[in-house]
């Protein structure tokens, strides 16, 4: 049982990210790679994700402004985006990515546009929640963990 109130709050916040379906077990795998030598590994990975994937989002937005839709290009962009998103455990974002790709394959432009709007919402929401989580984690300070064998 965590005695530090801030760490309890952190645990609650973390649990909510999983309970509400924003994150899956892949995020846990990233946390397990974090150690004393790399205490901010997860935050660094997530920061890199949002930086890189932001460019893909922009590419997709621009591609959706061009008619007729190049579904092959849209699918390729989303393939890349889905891969990145799944690598940080972004569960809802990954789900919307999968749906978008299905609409690409069925050449459904309306479906693509609708799904992309939802994807951007999930993407932004996750970013806000993770920002809050990492900020709280920094305030709560490091927790003692067993050292990973080298």
């Amino acid at each position: 049982m965590e005695r530090n109130p801030m760490r309890r709050q952190l645990q609650t916040l973390r649990k909510s990210l999983f309970d509400q379906g924003y994150l899956d077990d892949q995020f846990v795998q990233l946390e397990e790679l974090q150690d004393d030598a790399n205490p901010n590994f997860v935050e660094e990975v997530v920061t890199l994700y949002y930086r890189d994937s932001g460019r893909i989002i922009l590419n997709i937005e621009q591609a959706l402004e061009r008619k007729p839709f190049d579904f092959n290009k849209l699918d390729a962009y989303m393939h890349q985006f889905k891969g990145s998103s799944s690598s940080i455990g972004a569960k809802k974002v990954k789900a919307e990515s999968t749906l978008f790709r299905e609409y690409c394959r069925s050449r459904n432009g309306e479906g693509c546009m609708r799904t992309f709007q939802q994807l951007k919402k999930e993407y932004a929401t996750l970013r806000r929640k993770l920002e809050a989580y990492f900020q709280l984690a920094r305030q709560a300070g490091p927790v003692e963990t067993a050292c990973r064998p080298k």
């Binding site: 990210l17 890199l48 390729a76 799944s86 569960k91 939802q118």
Partner: protein, 158 residues
């Protein structure tokens, strides 16, 4: 001092129930393997983030890694004589796709373990990648439940 994650202009979203967030003990974690031998790996992924992440994960397990961002570069590297114990290769790659790159790498006689790590999830893609020569088809993300048994095998621990 909070550092914001790279921003966009997005709105709010509804929350849905997830998997309960209960952390069940995973069958494998990174600290369940310590390599006894020097193992090398090549990561082939056109996405900068995925490439860096997969390299980071392999390095955390103790492997020495190289990476390239397209299939043609991977084939060139192997053709130049570079040898690896493990290759992680994505399916959709610039210049030369992962399926064809795998085929060419195998045609050169490279018999190392190859994992096709891709965001593709269809059965057709899976069969195509396996037919080209990957040993395992993995839908991203690559987790320890797949990676650790592979590393144990490569390290002679099995």
């Amino acid at each position: 001092m909070a550092s914001a994650l790279p921003s966009g202009d997005m709105g709010a979203a509804e929350a849905n129930s997830g998997n309960g967030g209960q952390m069940q003990k995973k069958p494998f974690t990174f600290n369940e393997i310590v390599l006894r031998n020097r193992l090398t790996a090549l990561v082939v992924d056109g996405d900068n983030f995925c490439r860096l992440l997969e390299q980071g994960i392999l390095q955390a397990y103790g492997l020495e890694t190289q990476s390239v961002n397209n299939g043609d570069a991977a084939v060139e590297l192997i053709a130049s004589g570079a040898k690896f114990d493990l290759i992680l290769i994505d399916m959709l790659l610039p210049i030369l796709d992962g399926v064809e790159a795998t085929r060419r790498i195998r045609a050169m006689g490279m018999r190392c373990k190859m994992l096709g790590v891709t965001a593709c999830s269809g059965e057709r893609e899976r069969q195509a990648f396996l037919a080209a020569g990957v040993d395992v088809f993995v839908e991203k993300p690559l987790g320890p439940e797949i990676l650790i048994p592979v590393l144990r095998e490569l390290d002679g621990q099995v």
